[in-house]
Subunit: 150 residues, 2 copies
Amino acid sequence: MDRIDRKLLKLLQEDASRTNADLAAEVGLSPSSCLRRIRRLKSVGVIDRVVALLDPAKAGRGMKAIVTVELERHGEQHMRRFLEVAAMEPVVVQAYSVSGSTDAVLMLRLMDMDEFDTLCERLFRDRTNVARYYTMFVIRTAKETTAIPL
Amino acid sequence: MDRIDRKLLKLLQEDASRTNADLAAEVGLSPSSCLRRIRRLKSVGVIDRVVALLDPAKAGRGMKAIVTVELERHGEQHMRRFLEVAAMEPVVVQAYSVSGSTDAVLMLRLMDMDEFDTLCERLFRDRTNVARYYTMFVIRTAKETTAIPL
DNA sequence: ACCCAGTCTGCAATTTTATTGCACAAATCC
DNA sequence: GGATTTGTGCAATAAAATTGCAGACTGGGT
C-alpha cells in the first residue's frame, strides 16, 4: 500500500470506467504494472466491487429520508430482528444500529410520500417493537460521496 | 425505459465490471444492442458514473458516525455556509439539510476517535454557529447499498 | 559492501472486449 | 396503411485487457 496504490484507489473511487492505459499514464506506470496493482487491490479486498451510480431523480427516487428508531424492548435479539426486517425493504438503502438514545437509523430512497406511508405502516405499526420513530426528510444534499478518504 | 433498461440498471448497480457480452446474454440481447442501451443510459444521465467501492475496514476507515446538528442562527444563508464548510472535510461523506427539529445531518467515515475529536474541534467549536450536535456511532451495519430500487 | 531471494517493472505478443457500419425488423405517428 | 423513427443483429474493425518474459529494484543476512 504505497503512494501509487493510494492514488489508484482515489482515481478509481471517482471514476472506475477509465481505461487501464489512461490510469497507468496518470500514476506514471506501464499499463501492465498498473493492471497488476489494481488486480491485487481487488484480490485482497481493498476494492470490494465496482458499481454504477444512478441519478436518483432520473431514476424516479428523488426523495430521501433519514429515520431514527427507538425500540420498545431492547437487547441484541430484538435489535437484530428489527434490522433484518428493515433491510429486506428495497427502499431502505442503509440500516444501522447505533449508540446513543436512539437504537437504529435508516436511510430511505423514496418515490413519494405514499411510499413512505406504506413503509411506515409495515415497519413501525403496532406489534413491531418500535416505541417511536423520528423522520427527517432531506431538503438539500450538500455532499454525498462513496469515496473513502485515504 | 422499458423492462430491459431496468434490468440492465439493476445488474450494473450490483456489478459494473461485467463484460458487455455477459450482460447482453443475461438480458437476452445482442452485445451491440446492449452496449447502445447502456451508452444511452449514460448519455441521458440515468447512469451518473461508475465507481469502485472500497472495503472501509481494509481502507483503514472502519469507524462510522452519524451526527445531527442544530444551528444557533437559522435561515438559508447560515445553513448554506455550515454545509459548505462541512462538505469540505474529507471524512464527511454525506451532508444534508433536513426537515424537523435538527437542521443538518452528517455521515462520517473515521479512522479513530482522535480524528472524530479534531473534526468536532473544527466544525462545532465556538463561533461556528452550531448550537448543539448529537453523535450516534454506528455499532452494526445491517445494510448499506448504493443501488436505487427500480 | 556484497549477494541472494522475492517483488516489481516495462515491453511486446496474444487474447478478449468494445465499437461501428449496415441492412433489416418493430414500433409510432399521421 | 404508409412513412418515419427507433431499435436490433451480424460481421468487420478498433481498442483494451491480459500474459510471458527478461531485466531492475528492494530488503535481509553475512
